[in-house]
């Protein structure tokens, strides 16, 4: 009797130990790879269906089986950080390209030195602008571009035609047009924004900041509260203060909420990245119903300003330094960034190829793609590629979000209010928060 009891106790003990020690593991050898893909199309499942046939193709060519996991955006960074701390991660993964320098600093990703670049077809095959957003300057990148994204100003063709208006080419024109198209009685507003999203807030603060000649960092020293940044943030917040955006937009937390306003004709314009094309389609708005032009800048440009219409947005692909199959990982990255796959995947996912060679495909020569391509290649600048980039996004983005909320509830948001808010973000950045 005693021995069976002891056995039971031991069994229970092992069970507990087993439970606590699991979570390690993760098979990998020379014939398998684990791939963490970010969510690029309308759902995780849609992504799986787009990617799986390509992974099968890769297996046919190389005999390497790829285990795919598509990860939703809110989880992706946490999963990557967990993989970084535990050393138990995928072999190949997607990262938001603005995280490149931060993740580079962790040392968890494989460095693309010359030898590694040679295995994936050379550094030169990529678009120069997309290569900007792969890591800190002067260091070997730890990720390479996979899908290109850029902002554009989407405008509803019918609303514009009915009012006899042309898409704006300067910021003043944009505000003017937005005023004309704001008809509160019809529930129609000139422009829709995503006010509660701190990432959007930080992107526009950066973009408009560059138009006003702001430098966000001097080395690693933050310069968030410069007069140029104040003007930049004011340019964005004024969309609500001046009444051309629905104050309720200050609540919008997701792309889909803003896209729905546009596709239902409640907002005549929105500023969005090109992946909105797929979302709008799923909401019943065809590509023929809207046009896209670069987000305009003030004219004349303020002193030191540049005509920046987007940050270099997009997704990068990287190999995990702890992978036991690094050569397989590089072969897979080479495959995913080959011209054929770039054409096929970006076509299906609604993103832009990151290879110069891929644009000869007719599907990328539509006026719509042409606009985004031109913005990405010529009118975009990378967000600061420094390890503290995510602190910048959080601090500035939250400040912009709070200011939009203030403007939406009718409080005046003037230069001094904005300056105070930005100075507080600057102090926090400096003190290491």
């Amino acid at each position: 009797v005693r021995s069976s009891k002891t056995a039971a106790v031991l069994a229970a003990l092992f069970l507990v130990l087993g439970i606590t020690s699991c979570g390690s593991g993760g098979e990998s050898g020379s014939k398998t790879l684990t791939y963490w893909a970010s969510n690029q199309s309308t759902s995780l499942d849609a992504d799986r269906q787009i990617l799986q046939p390509e992974l099968d193709k890769f297996e046919q060519q190389t005999g390497i089986h790829v285990n795919l996991e598509v990860i939703a955006w809110p989880d992706l960074l946490n999963r990557i950080l967990a993989a970084t701390t535990s050393g138990q991660g995928p072999d190949v993964l997607n990262i938001g390209n603005t995280w490149s320098a931060s993740l580079q600093a962790t040392g968890a990703l494989k460095q693309f030195d010359d030898a590694a670049f040679e295995q994936i077809g050379g550094r030169e095959k990529f678009l120069a602008s997309s290569m900007q957003a792969t890591g800190a300057a002067g260091q070997p990148p730890t990720a390479v571009p996979l899908y290109g994204l850029a902002y554009g100003l989407f405008y509803n063709k019918k609303i514009f035609a009915d009012a006899g208006l042309q898409p704006p080419t300067t910021w003043q024109e944009l505000v003017d047009v937005a005023h004309k198209l704001t008809v509160p009685s019809k529930g129609q507003w000139g422009i829709g924004i995503e006010g509660a999203s701190y990432t959007e807030g930080s992107h526009f603060a950066f973009m408009f900041g560059r138009q006003h000649g702001a430098q966000l960092f001097n080395g690693t020293e933050p310069r968030f509260d410069s007069p140029q940044m104040v003007s930049a943030v004011k340019q964005y917040v004024d969309l609500i203060s001046s009444g051309v955006a629905n104050p309720s937009d200050a609540e919008h937390l997701n792309d889909t909420e803003m896209d729905a306003e546009f596709s239902s004709g409640k907002a005549a314009m929105i500023m969005q990245q090109n992946n909105a094309v797929a979302v709008l389609k799923s909401q019943g708005m065809e590509e023929s119903a809207y046009g896209v032009v670069p987000i305009p800048a003030p004219d004349p440009l303020p002193a030191g300003g540049k005509k920046v219409s987007s940050h270099v947005a997009g997704i990068n692909i990287a190999a995990f330094a702890g992978s036991e199959n690094l050569s397989g990982a590089l072969r897979f990255i080479n495959f995913m960034t080959s011209p054929d796959e770039q054409k096929l995947l970006n076509g299906k996912l609604g993103s832009l190829p990151v290879l110069k060679d891929a644009y000869n495909d007719p599907q990328f020569s539509t006026p719509l793609i042409g606009t985004f391509r031109q913005v990405l290649a010529d009118q975009s600048e990378s967000l600061p590629m420094i390890p503290q980039e995510s602190q910048f996004e959080t601090l500035i983005g939250t400040a912009v979000k709070d200011l939009l909320a203030q403007a939406a509830s009718g409080q005046p948001v003037d230069d001094s209010v904005i300056q105070a808010k930005l100075r507080s973000a600057n102090d926090q950045m400096r003190s290491g928060g």
Partner: protein, 344 residues
């Protein structure tokens, strides 16, 4: 969340230690009884050890799930864990109390914001605990006597507690939207209480929204606990009170509340810890950057560590919160325990 569980399960770990104190006395009693008794004694000793052996898995689980992560958290708060040291975090530079100094320095923006967030959280907790307890008590007392439909009402009251939190809060998020939400449809369109449609998810009202949603989600627990507590009050007490001509109010103050004291003692503590630490409700309602007015500590700390990659600082803030909760819990248990003894 770890702290709250560790709190509530604390007695469960310490309880078995008490009989262990008696052990030496028992073994001396068995001393010198001869060989015939030796076998039985051995068996008795094995039987005596068995309960502890059976508790061992629970103890290991408790250590693995609660105690060790907490200690790791404390250790992390003394390290500089950022993106530069994250990968090899066990060898991150030791910086002593620097993280605490930064978090507690009220002159720095980090400290000032932490203090602000602390204030918001305390106010939030007081309102939620108070309202949940009052609602729970009122509903439990109202449903104390049987009447047709009592079962249905009890089930209805428990629905918010049974729903998955995320689903329920997302629904609230839809209801609280300014243009299309049900709340404004009722308050503005039907009742005409406001001229201008108010915001509920941004700006100063976001705090009220958070409090209301948290009360809605939590009060059924108070209702359930107090209902259970009421079952143990003997009917005779009420009968005697009625014979003395006590009003319902007097019965509540003279019979119900004193009898519920032991239940309330635990209930209030649990409600306090839950509300203070809740993450899901504010995060689901506002996303990872909550409006300043509703920036409760759980979300604030999440943002200070995960979003900005400063895990050491986030851990230091967590440890400060842990110490505060520990202090409140100990003082509360001591004070309320003394009052119970005084009363009896």
């Amino acid at each position: 969340m770890t702290t709250e569980r560790a709190q509530s399960e604390g007695p469960a770990i310490t309880a078995p230690r008490r009989p262990a104190v008696k052990m030496p006395g028992r073994s001396t009693g068995a001393h010198g009884r001869g060989n015939r008794l030796g076998a039985r004694d051995r068996r008795r000793r094995a039987v005596r050890w068995l309960p502890y052996l059976l508790l061992l898995p629970a103890l290991i689980a408790e250590l693995a799930v609660h105690v060790i992560p907490m200690l790791v958290g404390v250790w992390m708060s003394l390290q500089q864990i950022t993106q530069f040291t994250l990968r090899d975090w066990t060898r991150a530079p030791f910086i002593g109390i620097d993280n605490f100094a930064l978090a507690a320095n009220l002159a720095s923006p980090v400290g000032a914001q932490l203090l602000h967030s602390f204030g918001v959280t305390v106010l939030f907790t007081v309102l939620v605990v108070g309202a949940c307890w009052l609602l729970g008590l009122a509903a439990a007392v109202a449903l104390q006597k049987p009447f047709p439909g009592r079962g249905v009402l009890r089930v209805l009251f428990l629905v918010p507690f049974a729903l998955p939190v995320f689903t329920a809060v997302i629904t609230w998020r839809f209801m609280l939207q300014r243009d299309t939400g049900l709340v404004n449809a009722v308050l503005v369109d039907w009742l005409g209480l406001f001229d201008e449609r108010p915001f509920w998810l941004v700006g100063s009202n976001s705090f009220s929204s958070l409090v209301v949603v948290m009360i809605w989600k939590t009060w059924p627990y108070a209702f359930l606990t107090i209902t259970a507590g009421l079952q143990s009050i003997p009917d005779e007490l009420y009968e005697v009170a009625e014979t003395d001509g006590a009003s319902p109010w007097q019965k509540l103050r003279g019979v119900t509340l004193p009898s519920l004291r032991p239940v309330n003692r635990v209930l209030l503590l649990v409600l306090f810890l839950w509300s203070f630490n809740d993450f899901t409700v504010p995060y689901t309602l506002f996303g990872s950057a909550a409006p300043a007015e509703a920036d409760v500590l759980s979300v604030h700390i999440y943002q200070s560590s995960f979003v900005t990659w400063n895990f050491g600082l986030g851990s230091a803030m967590s440890v400060l919160v842990l110490l505060f909760l520990l202090l409140v819990s100990v003082v509360y248990m001591w004070a309320s325990g003394r009052r119970t003894t005084d009363a009896s």
